[in-house]
Point group: none
Chain length 140, copies 2
Amino acid sequence: MKKTIFLYGLALALLVLLMRMIEYRFLVRDLTLEFYIGIVAIFFTALGIWVGLKFTRKKVVMINPDFHFNDKEQTKRNISKRELEVLELMAQGLANQEIADKLFVSLNTVKTHSSNLFSKLEVSRRTQAIQKAKELNLIP
Amino acid sequence: MKKTIFLYGLALALLVLLMRMIEYRFLVRDLTLEFYIGIVAIFFTALGIWVGLKFTRKKVVMINPDFHFNDKEQTKRNISKRELEVLELMAQGLANQEIADKLFVSLNTVKTHSSNLFSKLEVSRRTQAIQKAKELNLIP
DNA sequence: TTCACCATCATTCTTTCGGGTGATTTGGCA
DNA sequence: TGCCAAATCACCCGAAAGAATGATGGTGAA
């Protein structure tokens, strides 16, 4: 979290620096305020989207009313939050690569998580994992 | 989508207008570039977060407890009995080889059936096929 | 501060899936 | 009887999944 804030500030500082350089080095002094605002807006919109996704992906939206998460099973089987996220995306029919993209991690990481999941759920295939997870009320 | 882009541009225009007003109306002429950038950065970061969230909302899939086989869908999609059997076993988390053993056919046959199933269900992976089949009430 | 655990990523290797294509057989039906 | 759809099987190939192992950095508890 601190790291992210730091990086965020760093990005802002770098952007300011970049603009100063454009201004002074290339003697382009008549850039309008709108131009600056445009650049900054685009940059920070992208950054905002990224940040927004990164910090809200953990918030799991469960709208199915007759689903009660079985945290006992989760505790008993030592299933971590991250593994649960992978499990949910897996249950949505996503491929490992798609899960990796969605969670902003590498394919290998997803594979590691899923491998650990399989052993914790005592299964050997993703389809079985989904089945069992639904039986155990780990996913809706 | 067009509406969003429009609103987005409108927000940008309003922000520029706001800044101009701050600049001229209150005679605060010595605001630094960093100040402007800061304002815009904060504003568009928030906007970016909002946009990012808006387009990644989860869709809700209700799973009804009592299952009634949807033979209309089966007819409409021309899904054969054998394909249905494969589908059910697939949903139980079985691998193609296991399905083949269970149905006393060869692995290739199961693969053919599943391939045809995928195209009939308009999916490309077995996990998605299971998902969709449940939504269509083809399997419990 | 040390330790256990989690999250991350990499590499290698094997197995499984899935697409594409084509062929044969079989049961029902016009 | 001939046609049609289904079921069956084969082969090739590339992509994806999964197993096994090792490594690193962060964090929270003891």
